[in-house]
C-alpha cells in the first residue's frame, strides 16, 4: 500500500516535470541544433538556404581578422572583468562581514547596480569615461585631474586595452553580486576555526590567508563560472558604450551585425556556435565537478 503510493508520487513528480523538460528540450537544445544546422549552410540573404557547406563558415571565421580581434577582446575583457569583480566583491565582503550600524544599508547599496539595465547606465558610463583632454576635459578625467592624475584614454585606448576599461562598468554592476556570494561563504566559516588560529598567535592577515581564503575556494569557483559565462555573453554594455567600434568588437556583437546588417545568417550562426562552445568549455566541466561533489556529500 505504502509502496504503491510512493510509486505513484514519483510518477506524478515526473509528470509535473515533463512540461519543463519539453520546453527546455525545444527552446534550448532544439534551437541550438537549428543554429548549428544553419552554421553548416550557405544561408546569406533573407531567404533560408540550407545548402550544405560543411565547415567552410568556421574555416573562414578563423581566418577573419575581425574575429581575431573579437577573440583577443574577449580574453582581455573576461580577465579584467572576472579579476575585478572577484577582487571588488571580496574586498566589499570583508569590509561588510561585521555587524555595525548601517551595514545592511551598504550591502543593499552595493547590490543595487544589478537592478539597473546596462543599456540605461551605459550612456552615463560613456560620458564618465570620455577621453577628451585639454579644454574639453570631462568625466572621470576631470575628477582625476583634481588629484593631479593625467587623463586616461579609457575605452578608446589602443587595441586591446580599450576593452579592459569597458570592464569597469561591468565590474560596477556585478561586484555586489560577488560580494553577496562571498558574504555567504564567509558566514559559513565556523568561528571556532578562526578563533583557534588566533589563539595560536596568528595575526588577522594570517588568519585570512591560512583559514578563510582557502575555505572560500568553492564560492570562488562558483563566482568564476558565473562571471565567466556572463562576460562571454556581454552585448548590451559594449553596444551602449562603443557604437559598434571594431576596436571594442566581441563575438556577440559581430554575430548581431553579421546577421541583421549583412544578412549573413550562416556566418552569424557559426559565430553563435563558437560562442556556445566557449561557454560550454567553461561551464560543462564545472557542472560535472559540482554534481560529482554533491553526490559524494
Amino acid at each position: 500500500m505504502q509502496l504503491r503510493r510512493a510509486f505513484q508520487g514519483r510518477w506524478v513528480a515526473v509528470g509535473m516535470l515533463a512540461p519543463s523538460m519539453l520546453a527546455v528540450a525545444i527552446f534550448v537544445y532544439g534551437f541550438i541544433g537549428w543554429t548549428a544546422r544553419v552554421s553548416l549552410s550557405e544561408w546569406r540573404g533573407l531567404l533560408p538556404d540550407y545548402t550544405w557547406a560543411g565547415l567552410a563558415n568556421f574555416v573562414d571565421l578563423f581566418a577573419d581578422r575581425r574575429f581575431h580581434i573579437d577573440l583577443i577582446n574577449t580574453l582581455v575583457f573576461t580577465s579584467f572583468f572576472v579579476v575585478g569583480a572577484v577582487t571588488a566583491g571580496l574586498l566589499l565582503a570583508i569590509l561588510l562581514d561585521r555587524q555595525f550600524r548601517g551595514d545592511s544599508f551598504f550591502r543593499s547599496l552595493f547590490l543595487f547596480p544589478l537592478a539597473i539595465s546596462l543599456v540605461v547606465t551605459g550612456v552615463a558610463w560613456r560620458w564618465l569615461m570620455n577621453p577628451s583632454t585639454g579644454e574639453r576635459l570631462s568625466g572621470l578625467n576631470l575628477l582625476l585631474g583634481t588629484f593631479g592624475i593625467d587623463p586616461l584614454a579609457w575605452h578608446t585606448s589602443d587595441q586591446p586595452w580599450g576593452i579592459a576599461f569597458v570592464a569597469l562598468p561591468a565590474v560596477w554592476q556585478m561586484a555586489g553580486f560577488t560580494m553577496a556570494l562571498f558574504l555567504a561563504g564567509l558566514r559559513a566559516i565556523p568561528e571556532e576555526l578562526k578563533e583557534a588560529a588566533r589563539v595560536d598567535g596568528a595575526s588577522e592577515l594570517q588568519v585570512y590567508r591560512g583559514v578563510i581564503l582557502p575555505l572560500l575556494r568553492p564560492v570562488l569557483l562558483s563566482a568564476l563560472i558565473i562571471l565567466g559565462h556572463l562576460s562571454l555573453k556581454v552585448f548590451d554594455l559594449i553596444v551602449a558604450m562603443s557604437g559598434k567600434d571594431i576596436r571594442l568588437d566581441v563575438p556577440s556583437i559581430y554575430m548581431w551585425t553579421t546577421t541583421f546588417d549583412a544578412n549573413n545568417y550562416a556566418r552569424g550562426a557559426a559565430i553563435a556556435i563558437v560562442l556556445l562552445i566557449m561557454v560550454a568549455v567553461l561551464v560543462v566541466p564545472y557542472l560535472a565537478w559540482s554534481l560529482r561533489r554533491e553526490a559524494e556529500v
Binding site: 533573407l46 578608446t156 571594431i246 576596436r247 541583421f260
Partner: protein, 414 residues
C-alpha cells in the same frame, strides 16, 4: 493569501495582454523616425494621409537605433515569419534592392508611378538608382545630400582661413589650423568615418571612376584608389582624438563651440545647427566637400510595397501620399530635407534647403555608400569591417586588399 493575490494579478495581466489584437483597416508602417524633426515630419505626413484617407488608421511602428539597425532587425524577424507590415522605410537603392528584391519580398511599383505621373516629377538620374533593370522598387520621399562641409564663417574669419575647395587645400588649411590650436576636422563614430570615406573617394576619383567602383567595372586595386585611401589616411590625422566616443551631432557641436573648424556630414546637420539657434548663411555656412563641387551625393528615405503586404490597398494609399506633393511638402520642411519631386513649394524651405533644391536640379547625381544607395547590406558590412580594422591599425595596404576582397565576395567584382 499572498498566493491568491499573485495568481489574481498574473491572470488579469495575462488577460489584458491577450486583448491587444490588431484590427482591420490599419496601415502599419515601419520606420526609424522616432524623435525630433523626423518624428514631427512623419506626423505631418500622417496628417495628410488621415485627411485623404479618413477610413484608414495609420499605425506607427517606428524603432530607433542608428540608421535603423534595430528597426531592420525587427523587420527581418517579421519577414522571416512571413508577417510583413504594410510598408517600411528604407534607403533607396541597393540597401532595399540588394536585400529585399533579391529575396522577392517587395513588388515593383511601375504601375503606381504611371498612375501618379511621378516619372514626370522625379529626376531622371534618380530612377535608375532606385530600380533593378526596368523595375522601380520604392517611392522616395526625400533627398539628403551627403557631401556637405559645414563651418562657422565668423570662426574661419577669425582664424584667417577659407573653406577649402580641394583636398590638397584642405590638408594645407588643416596644418595652419592645427598650429593655431584648432582641430581641423570634427568626426564621430565609425559610420561617420565611412561617410567621410565616401566623400574622399568621390573627390579623389571623380564621378565616373567612383560610380564604376560600384557596378563592377571599376578596379578597387588600382593606384588611383590607393592615392584616395592615402589622402583619407592623411585627412584623418587632422581629426579629433576622441572621435569614437561622439555621435555625429556631438562632433558638430565641436564646430559650434569653435573647438573644431569643419565637419563633413549630411545635410540633416542643418537641423542641428538651427536647433542651436544659428541662422543659415549668417551664423553657419556650408560648401560641397572638397573636390566634389557639381556632384550631389545623395541618399533618400523611401517606402516600399511588400509582397503580401498587410492591407495592400492601405499600403498603396500610404505610398500615394508619400509620393504626393502634399505629403512631401508636409514632411520635408520639418524633417530638414528636400522633396524628391521637383515641384516642391520653394516658399516652405529655408535658405540652405532652397540652395540644395537648386543643386539637386543641376548637379550630377551620385549615390552614397554609407546610406545604402550604391552597395547592398552584405557588401557594405564587409566594407565596414575593413574600415574598422583600418581605423585600428592604419594599414592602407591591408585596407585596400580588404576592399578588393569585399567587392569580390559580396559585390559585383569577379
Amino acid at each position: 493569501m499572498w498566493r491568491r493575490l499573485l495568481v489574481g494579478v498574473a491572470t488579469s495581466a495575462l488577460v489584458l495582454s491577450a486583448c491587444q489584437q490588431a484590427a482591420a483597416g490599419e496601415v502599419e508602417v515601419f520606420s526609424w523616425w522616432t524623435a525630433g524633426g523626423e518624428a514631427d515630419g512623419l506626423a505631418a505626413m500622417v496628417e495628410v494621409f488621415n485627411e485623404e484617407y479618413p477610413d484608414l488608421t495609420f499605425v506607427n511602428s517606428a524603432v530607433a537605433g542608428g540608421a535603423g539597425t534595430d528597426a531592420r532587425a525587427q523587420l527581418a524577424t517579421r519577414l522571416q515569419a512571413s508577417d510583413p507590415p504594410s510598408s517600411w522605410q528604407g534607403h533607396a537603392g541597393q540597401e532595399l534592392i540588394g536585400t529585399y528584391v533579391a529575396a522577392d519580398q517587395i513588388e515593383p511599383l511601375n504601375f503606381l508611378y504611371q498612375e501618379e505621373g511621378w516619372l514626370d516629377v522625379m529626376p531622371e538620374t534618380l530612377i535608375p538608382l532606385i530600380s533593378e533593370g526596368d523595375n522601380i522598387y520604392s517611392v522616395p520621399v526625400n533627398i539628403h545630400r551627403a557631401n556637405v562641409m559645414w563651418y562657422i564663417p565668423s570662426n574661419l574669419q577669425e582664424w584667417g582661413v577659407e573653406a577649402p575647395t580641394t583636398w590638397d587645400e584642405f590638408l594645407a588649411t588643416a596644418a595652419t589650423l592645427e598650429d593655431a590650436g584648432v582641430t581641423p576636422l570634427a568626426i564621430g563614430f565609425q559610420w561617420t568615418h565611412m561617410h567621410l570615406l565616401e566623400t574622399v573617394l568621390l573627390g579623389s576619383l571623380g564621378a565616373d571612376a567612383y560610380s564604376a567602383l560600384w557596378d563592377g567595372s571599376g578596379d578597387w586595386s588600382s593606384a588611383d584608389v590607393t592615392a584616395a585611401l592615402e589622402t583619407y589616411h592623411e585627412v584623418l590625422h587632422f581629426a579629433n582624438a576622441d572621435a569614437s566616443t561622439l555621435e555625429w551631432d556631438q562632433a558638430a557641436q565641436l564646430v559650434v563651440d569653435g573647438t573644431a573648424a569643419f565637419t563633413i556630414m549630411g545635410d540633416w546637420a542643418e537641423g542641428f545647427f538651427k536647433a542651436q539657434g544659428l541662422e543659415p548663411e549668417t551664423d553657419f555656412g556650408w560648401a560641397p566637400a572638397p573636390d566634389t563641387d557639381g556632384l550631389f551625393q545623395f541618399l533618400s528615405d523611401s517606402f516600399v510595397l511588400p509582397v503580401d503586404a498587410k492591407n495592400r490597398e492601405g499600403a498603396l494609399a500610404w505610398l500615394r501620399v508619400a509620393g504626393s506633393q502634399a505629403g512631401q511638402d508636409a514632411f520635408n520642411p520639418i524633417k530638414g530635407s528636400i522633396p524628391a519631386r521637383s515641384d516642391g513649394d520653394r516658399s516652405l524651405y529655408d535658405a540652405y534647403l532652397t540652395s540644395a533644391m537648386d543643386d539637386w536640379a543641376t548637379d550630377t547625381v551620385i549615390g552614397s555608400l554609407t546610406h545604402g544607395v550604391v552597395a547592398n547590406d552584405a557588401w557594405k558590412a564587409e566594407i565596414d569591417s575593413a574600415l574598422g580594422l583600418f581605423l585600428a591599425d592604419g594599414d592602407v595596404g591591408a585596407f585596400q586588399e580588404a576592399l578588393v576582397a569585399a567587392c569580390a565576395e559580396t559585390g559585383p567584382c569577379s
